[in-house]
Symmetry: C2
Subunit: 337 residues, 2 copies
DNA sequence: TCGCGAATTGACAGCGCTGTCATTTCTGTC
DNA sequence: GACAGAAATGACAGCGCTGTCAATTCGCGA
């Protein structure tokens, strides 16, 4: 009923072990044999059983995507990353298990152990803030599970993918400077997220490059949510000298700023320029559409997964690859009033 | 190194087969034996190997979540559903594989076959519009794979979960009627989606219940996207008598309506009331926040998965359960001008 | 042509569990 | 107290593949 490795072996006239070798891309198979076996596999429509492979060998052809379920970045971000990861898996005949983790408590230990012991996960792909959650990294290390990170804070010795967020943030703010803005405010994201730090650093870089002073009262703490953007903006609007532009550390907060501006009777972009970061779908659903930085989440997911598989296939140590950013200039920014 | 079923058997003084029986909740085990075995499993921290179970028996403890990758409903919807599904899986020690499918072409056949043959998937959970994609259903049937649907169009003989969208839409429009609106327009979703039909039917029901005439010029075709909402609204605004309220079939289109209103100089809700459907995060990120119908996507995912597992565990035929809707009355609707 | 290390290939056991069917241990009955 | 039939349990093979290690074949210089 099912075509087994043994059937392919018989059809080709070689031993099962040799077919297994071809299947696993081992190098010690004569090219002519390899071709014969490959042809037979193809014509017989052979599909190896992951269960048997997992049981007999050590490989499971399973990777897990770990993400934080609790204090979630925008779910559309995760969805895009996941899509990219699945893409890469598909290309290398891996399967992916999605695994939301709650960072508080010991839950994540149980979950990770389950993945490792029960499913013999070969590697994991992580999104922030898990990428820098020490207890998790520790556990993965103990289990010897390779992992690939998306936008990790600690870049040395990580494999995965990142974007030069600092440079991107700088470019975004430089854009405001070029539009003639002098009083540029920044709304910071959740404190211990790498993204918050980089974007803030880029903001400072731009000010410095433009010869503008860094004024702490123009920097307000937010927490990546729409609501925190509203609050932060209100705070800025209470200053004696209002900023003419606000760079929010992500799109959700920028949307909050636009809300608050509306509430306050400020017209965007006439009275106030607003820009964000991430280019989520929200950015083009706002009125006016939001100037922001495009982050290619899907590609990042795919690349992170590909790097992981390079490691799993023993093709190298794995790299931390960098993807380019792109400014999306839309109608929420304009010349300073 | 690893605790095996055999180890538990030895520790308990029974045969491996008996431990296996306990593991699989078979009924023919004496209660006292069962307790002993269970205790040993617990204390030895035994974890069955899915690979071995899959290879030896027919079960894989794997379900797949199928969703349409091409003509995607809002990704946040999918993310919420997926979270709910994972919740349910966790509770029953199942694992879930996420599987985006492209409906056009034969790609989906290949993917489904891969799931069935390679991974011995036990069942699938589907989201619209896959729930009613005949070739897919056909294929699943051929393979004898049980499936659970979320908001399927054809409700007879389906198992899964649904919401009374027609009733919800009617309630939403009745709300507009109660606010004094007489010229109420509707923007329809993608033609062959069940959601579009139900919401349209509810709109008609409400008009009828309120004794208002059904005027085809107030019904415009959209396609669930922000952009189509903008276009549809512009069309409505070109009518000699403008509607005083617009009920869009989803939040994205409602956001588009609000954009178009802004563009046209109409103030929401003073000049125009707008409401949507779904209660996506976008709804509270708009200005003013959007009146809409809350659809408990996460719960729906969870319930659909639970129903599937009832079937897989042989505990019944599975039901199509109905979840309640809830109107979210926010500031985008107000008394008619 | 012979010999030898390298390149290929194969035999065989067993991964950890469950299906099948046989065996043992209980029930209750007369 | 013996016996039929039901309830529990066990023996054993094998799911489809890979690891280990042994056997074979090949290429090439002497």
């Amino acid at each position: 009923m099912r075509v087994r490795l043994e059937d392919v072996a018989r059809a080709t006239g070689v031993s099962p072990k040799t077919v297994s070798r071809v299947l696993n891309e081992e190098s010690s198979v004569k090219e002519s044999t390899r071709q014969k076996v490959l042809a037979a596999m193809e014509s017989m429509n052979y599909r190896p059983s992951p269960a048997a492979r997992g049981l007999a060998g050590s490989r499971s052809f399973l990777v897990a995507m770990l993400y934080d379920n609790n204090d979630n970045p925008a779910s559309t971000y995760l969805a895009e990353v996941q899509d990219g990861v699945l893409d890469a898996c598909d290309a290398h005949r891996y399967s992916m298990m999605a695994c939301p983790l709650r960072m508080r408590g010991q839950d994540f230990i149980r979950r990770v152990d389950a993945l490792v012991f029960d499913h013999h996960i070969e590697g994991v792909i992580m999104t922030p803030p898990l990428t820098d959650y020490a207890p998790l990294l520790q556990r993965l290390k103990e289990h010897g599970v390779p992992h690939s990170s998306i936008s990790p804070v600690h870049r040395e010795a990580s494999i995965g993918v990142c974007m030069d967020e600092q440079q991107a943030a700088k470019a975004m703010v430089m854009h405001l400077v070029e539009l003639g803005h002098r009083r540029i405010a920044h709304i910071v994201g959740i404190a211990n997220h790498g993204a918050s730090r980089w974007r803030m650093a880029g903001y400072k870089d731009a000010l410095a490059a433009a010869g503008l002073p860094f004024d702490p009262q123009y920097v307000v703490q937010g927490e990546f949510s729409f609501g925190s953007g509203v609050l932060a903006a209100r705070e800025l609007f209470a200053l004696p000298e209002l900023p003419t532009a606000i760079f929010a550390a992500n799109d959700d907060m920028a949307a909050g700023v636009m809300w608050a501006a509306n509430e306050r009777g400020l017209k965007v972009p006439r009275d106030l320029s607003v820009c964000g970061f991430d280019d989520t779908p929200l950015a083009t659903q706002l009125w006016p559409p939001l100037t922001t930085v495009r982050q290619p989440s899907r590609d990042m997911g795919k690349l992170a997964a590909l790097q992981l598989m390079e490691v799993l296939r023993g093709r190298g140590p794995g790299l931390l690859v960098q993807v380019p950013y792109a400014l999306q200039l839309r109608e929420s920014t304009a010349a300073a009033p």
